[in-house]
């Protein structure tokens, strides 16, 4: 094989590999209106721009959101069941040079430190395309004060029971 043939083969290989590489790019960001220091029960919103950077259309696009807790010792994936009803977006085709923008609302159910990422694949693409991460911390919410509720919830029925016993003894 001549050097020229070798270089041509290499170029063809790289070109075909490039042609097969996922042309998608996924950009994830927190929307500007999000609370600076969110607590349990707050709502956050994330925004993605999924762009087809390739020369050919991308068919059967699917993008989904994932959440993991990254507190030390509590690392785990999070079931988005209560966090978000909007877990995925699809598009039948994304033309070259066009983008798909999506908002991802989320309700903060549990306190902790979290990392959110949006991933995208296409029907024929060989790879998964992840977005960059967005990390956020959820503060513990001051819940209903148990020191107020417990005495009332337990005390009032006890007082009424006492009244009933007193009436019963009298009769």
């Amino acid at each position: 094989m001549t050097l020229r043939t070798f270089l041509l083969s290499i170029a063809l290989f790289v070109a075909s590999a490039s042609a097969w590489a996922e042309p998608l790019s996924v950009n994830l960001s927190a929307t500007p209106g999000n609370p600076a220091s969110p607590q349990m029960g707050d709502h956050l919103n994330f925004h993605t721009i999924i762009r087809n950077d390739g020369p050919t259309p991308v068919d059967g696009l699917i993008a989904w959101i994932s959440l993991v807790q990254i507190d030390k010792g509590k690392e785990q994936p999070v079931d988005l069941e209560d966090w978000s009803a909007h877990k995925a977006v699809t598009a039948p085709q994304l033309a070259p040079g066009t983008s798909l923008e999506t908002d991802w609302p989320m309700r903060l159910i549990q306190a902790g430190t979290y990392r959110v990422v949006v991933s995208a694949v296409s029907r024929n693409g060989p790879n998964l395309t992840p977005s960059t991460f967005v990390d956020f911390k959820v503060r513990q919410k001051p819940v209903v004060e148990s020191q107020r509720v417990l005495p009332v919830a337990v005390g009032i029925p006890i007082v009424l029971c006492g009244l009933m016993l007193w009436r019963r003894r009298r009769s």
Binding site: M40, G41, D82, I109, Q110, K141, P142, V143, V144, E145, S146, R148, V149, L150, P151, V152, A153, V154, I156, P157, L160, C161, L163, M164, R167, R168, S171
Partner: protein, 250 residues
């Protein structure tokens, strides 16, 4: 002391001094306690903000008050008739109207007892205090006509049906029908049938007012249309009770 006050005091005594009446109050308190304890212990419920919690408590107190009013109202006519205590009352020189007004006074005493019982629960769950006092006032102002109306309805039904059990069942069915939109989801309430039902349902009138005052921070005065609607409900049920009691035994 006039006959109306005498009978109202007697009816109040039936509730507050008899084992049966104290048992009903205890049941109501246990329900409120369970809700309070769930707020402390359940993760999803603990996510509710305080305004929502106070609103929910207002709704529960109104619903429980209406339930107690149905039980007390049924007992005050149909129950007394079965126990043999109504005839001696009807045979005194006291007019039936006075007897009825006395029993209505008894209903008011029962609701007042229920409301006073609920006030510590409001305080306990409304820790951030958002519209807590306005909320408690709204429940007193708008909840009273709704609750008393169900009491009067139960008295009227008790006067017309032959047994206390069938009277109680019928009244409870009316109560459940009225409360049913609350059990439907928001999307069903937005349907044309849901909206029509909401428009004539006294519960909805009160709850919409609570929502406006407690969650949306509107003034109590602005709830006058809801208040007027609950007063119409009160007037209709009062007329029904008066007409029915005048026909009892006849």
């Amino acid at each position: 002391m006039n006959a109306i006050v005498l009978i109202a005091r007697k009816e109040g005594g039936d509730l507050l001094l008899s084992l049966r009446g104290l048992g009903w109050l205890l049941t109501m308190a246990v329900v409120l306690s369970v809700f309070g304890l769930l707020l402390v212990g359940n993760t999803e419920l603990s996510l509710l903000d305080n305004a929502q919690v106070v609103y929910d408590m207002g709704g529960i107190v109104t619903a429980l008050g209406a339930l107690l009013a149905v039980v007390v109202g049924t007992d005050s006519v149909a129950g007394e008739r079965e126990r043999g205590t109504l005839v001696p009352l009807l045979l005194t020189p006291t007019s039936r109207t006075s007897i009825l007004l006395g029993k209505l006074g008894g209903q008011a005493i029962a609701w007042a007892a229920m409301y006073v019982l609920a006030l510590p629960y409001f305080w306990a769950v409304g820790s951030t205090g958002q519209n807590l006092i306005d909320g408690a006032i709204s429940v007193a102002l708008l909840g009273s006509p709704v609750v008393l109306g169900f009491g009067f309805l139960a008295m009227g039904i008790g006067a017309r049906l032959s047994s206390a059990r069938s009277s109680l069942l019928t009244s409870l069915i009316f109560l459940l029908l009225s409360a049913s939109p609350l059990l439907l989801g928001p999307s069903l309430r937005q349907s044309s049938v849901g909206r029509a039902f909401d428009a004539v349902n006294p519960f909805s009138g009160a709850l919409n007012a609570y929502d406006a005052v407690i969650i949306d921070s509107q003034t109590i005065v602005a709830q006058f249309p809801h208040f007027a609607f609950t007063l119409v409900w009160l007037g209709l049920t009062l007329s029904f009770a008066v007409y029915s009691l005048n026909r009892v035994f006849k």
